[in-house]
């Protein structure tokens, strides 16, 4: 099962490599990974999506918690949550394709953020499966480059992950 684990950790050099190292060392999977400092600059927020059964996920969270740099963590998929990913995608846009791509971007509520005579650069946000759907709609033939941020997530309602 796909899980989103959100980690609050010390914003220290080496902290990220410890988290990433843990995953490779113990044979856990990283699907996506994002990390950046929070409003409190001593803390970083890291979101990792991984795949595993309940036993594996329990081991992942326990081992993450054991890392000295990890302050707190939550498995967002255990409760109601919102997830978003940002994608920048460069596609061929010439001739008849140009209008078709534009329509597709509108349907997916994306924005064209850069234009040349033959190329559109599109920004699109949403849950990962929405981004997958967009990539599929545009089709491999038109795609020149895809950059995805990886998943960021947050709990719904009043639940917060903070100190």
């Amino acid at each position: 099962m796909r899980r989103i684990i959100s980690v609050l950790m010390e914003n220290e050099p080496g902290a990220l490599s410890r988290v990433v190292g843990l995953f490779s060392q113990r044979g856990y999977n990283i699907e996506t990974l994002t990390v950046a400092p929070t409003e409190d600059e001593t803390l970083s927020r890291l979101t990792v999506t991984t795949i595993g059964d309940d036993h594996k996920i329990e081991q992942i969270t326990k081992n993450l918690n054991k890392l000295i740099d990890v302050v707190k963590l939550v498995d967002l998929t255990e409760g109601q949550h919102i997830e978003r990913e940002l994608m920048l995608i460069k596609v061929k846009a010439s001739g008849a394709q140009r209008a078709e791509i534009k329509r597709c971007v509108d349907i997916f509520r994306g924005q064209i953020i850069d234009v040349t005579s033959t190329v559109y650069t599109i920004q699109i946000t949403g849950a990962s499966d929405k981004l997958d759907a967009f990539v599929q709609s545009v089709g491999d033939a038109a795609i020149l480059e895809v950059v995805r941020s990886g998943v960021s997530g947050i709990s719904r309602g009043e639940k917060v992950l903070s100190l």
């Binding site: 950790m9 010390e10 050099p13 080496g14 490599s17 410890r18 190292g21 060392q25 036993h55 329990e58 081991q59 326990k62 081992n63 918690n65 054991k66 000295i68 740099d69 990890v70 302050v71 100190l163």
Partner: protein, 576 residues
């Protein structure tokens, strides 16, 4: 005002460090100069950085204190890696201070530069890189705190040369208190879970207490013994846990696992309740996990939540320090209205006695005693008798290690020092050396083989320098015995790369070259006399080169792969 180097050594003094095991080199020279200018912390010069870590490890296992290591950058640091990994696998508290090239050189492939924090990352509990001299006191305080609390482990402190520059001085103040917001090791177990565990314990008909190294690390041996004796339940220890429960007690079934006793492994398989204390259901214990103890409910006490339900799912997990949990259990048992089911327990003990009689290691010899060759088991038994079972025994890795674990019943914790998790050949001699620094008045023994001893043999010179009268008992079978055993059993005796008998050194002459005493024993009838002679030389290093039956195997041995704990080879031809 102190320089970074002086602050580092002052901080070690503040932590009560009395010994550092180390080896100097370029990037560590400022620190070594700071050591020279004081006399509170004593530095022990080993002959290889691997030995520095093993010696600090042996010192820690024997005393319960944090072992301290100092090495230089590059090869000094990488040589320490094996010892750090050894300590990590067995949860031994250790602080390893490594020199590093100056901060402005880091990343430039400077002379003797290695990314020590990166290289050691998977085998440390935590690591620090000093960025500025002023951070040193706090980092040292944190390092010792992290190494010694919770589930202990090694901590690396990487110290770039410029941060310990003698020309730059700063005010020194050692922090009194410490707060690490992201590190709060569990202390007490969950009371509800402990209550539940006690009521399950009292209802059990075929209980087993399975105790590991955590009982020793957690200083809970006395409590474990009290609990087991209050209940009159059978106890087995892991390889790491030997000594946690008195090895000669009638409730002790011996070690369990790969080379555990018939009675311990069989009782585990048939029990209906396991009280696991500070043990981690390691693969050398469980054999095939799907066949592990099919009828048992499991109570698992461990300070590390990640150890619980990792390989075997616990029915009642209790995260907490073993001493606090066991003492809470004892309190509950004293108040409890129920008592153990005496009739069931008596049947269970009857069954266990029957197993003991049938194949137990201690009821009668389970090896050939009629031949001319010296049997390795007899060497350990003789060692036990000659040392009255009071020696601190450090072991290397291989058949001799298993014979020592089987035939030297350890009376108390911290008496048995061995590399259980990583299985590091070469560990024995430097570990014995570390223990010898802590206990000048005890017999310190290194049980080894002619293979293992050659992996850190250079420490014979360190023993000379510091006058440490370690007794080395070498079970010489002229081959890599444990590998040979596997090649006999699994590879049709195709002996691939295990022989070197024509090129073995003359150990007696070698000992003389180092200023020690060597005794060769190859006659059965001389074994005891020579062993007594060896231990009579109180202030000398003595190496007993005992030629043992090279064909002997260690039994019992779990049948793997695919076997359960009751599936064992009992001899070359007999299995359960």
């Amino acid at each position: 005002m102190l320089s970074g180097g002086d602050m580092l050594i002052r901080s070690l003094q503040e932590e009560g460090v009395d010994l550092i095991f180390g080896y100097p080199g370029g990037a560590a020279l400022h620190i070594y100069d700071a050591i020279f200018r004081q006399d509170k912390v004593k530095h022990i010069l080993v002959r290889h950085e691997q030995s520095a870590t093993h010696a600090a490890d042996g010192y820690s296992r024997a005393t319960g204190r944090v072992g301290t290591v100092l090495v230089t950058s590059g090869p000094g640091a990488t040589n320490a890696i094996t010892g750090i990994a050894t300590a990590h696998m067995d949860s031994i508290p250790m602080v390893v201070i490594s020199g590093q090239v100056a901060t402005d050189k880091i990343g430039e492939d400077a002379f003797q530069e290695t990314d020590m924090v990166g290289v050691s990352r998977p085998i440390v509990k935590h690591s620090f890189m000093v960025k500025h001299a002023s951070e040193i006191p706090e980092i040292i305080k944190k390092a010792y705190h992290i190494a010694s609390t919770g589930r202990p482990g090694p901590v690396v402190v990487d110290v770039p040369k410029n941060t310990v520059d003698p020309m730059e001085t700063f005010p020194f103040e050692y922090p009194k208190k410490l707060k690490i917001r992201s590190y709060t090791p569990a202390a007490k177990g969950h009371s509800g879970q402990i209550k539940k565990a006690v009521s399950m314990l009292l209802k059990a008909k075929r209980p087993m207490i399975y105790a590991g190294g955590g009982v020793i690390q957690g200083e809970a041996s006395r409590l474990l013994t009290e609990l087991a004796q209050t209940l009159n339940y059978p106890v087995t220890n892991t390889l790491m846990g030997l000594g946690a429960y008195p090895g000669n007690d009638k409730q002790f079934l011996g070690m369990l696992g790969m080379h555990g006793t018939f009675e311990a492994n069989t009782a585990m398989h048939h029990c209906d309740l396991i009280l696991a204390v500070g043990a981690r259901f390691d693969d050398r214990v469980t054999n095939t996990t799907s066949k592990f103890c099919p009828n048992a409910k499991i109570i698992h006490i461990d300070i590390d939540p990640a150890s619980i339900s990792k390989t075997i799912t616990a029915d009642v997990p209790i995260v907490g320090s073993v001493d606090s949990v066991l003492s809470e259990m004892l309190d509950l048992l004293k108040e409890a209205k129920d008592t153990p089911d005496e009739a069931a327990l008596s049947d269970w003990w009857k069954q266990i006695s029957e197993w003991r009689e049938r194949h137990g290691l201690y009821t009668q010899p389970r090896y050939n005693t009629g031949g001319d060759m010296i049997m390795p088991q007899d060497v350990i038994k003789t060692l036990y008798e000659v040392t009255n079972g009071d020696a601190i025994v450090a072991s290397d890795v291989g058949q001799h290690q298993m014979f020592a674990a089987q035939y030297y019943p350890f009376k108390s914790p911290r008496q048995w020092i061995n590399s259980g998790g990583l299985g590091t050949m070469g560990f024995g001699l430097p570990a014995a050396m570390g223990a010898a620094f802590a206990f000048r008045d005890k017999d310190i023994v290194c049980v080894t083989g002619e293979g293992s001893i050659q992996m850190c043999i250079q420490e014979l010179s360190t023993l000379t320098q510091y006058g440490l009268p370690v007794k080395i008992i070498c079970l010489n079978n002229q081959a890599l015995g444990m590998v040979k055993q596997w090649q006999d059993m699994v590879y049709d005796s195709r002996y691939s790369e295990i022989h070197y008998e024509d090129s073995l050194p003359d150990f007696v002459k070698l000992m003389e070259a180092y200023g020690h005493v060597g005794i060769r024993v190859n006659k059965k009838e001389e074994l005891r006399e020579k062993m007594e002679e060896c231990f009579a030389m109180k202030d000398r290093v003595v190496f007993m080169d005992v030629y043992v039956d090279p064909t002997e195997h260690v039994y019992p041995m779990l049948v793997a792969p695919g076997g359960s704990m009751r599936d064992m080879w009992l001899s070359k031809t007999e299995r359960t």
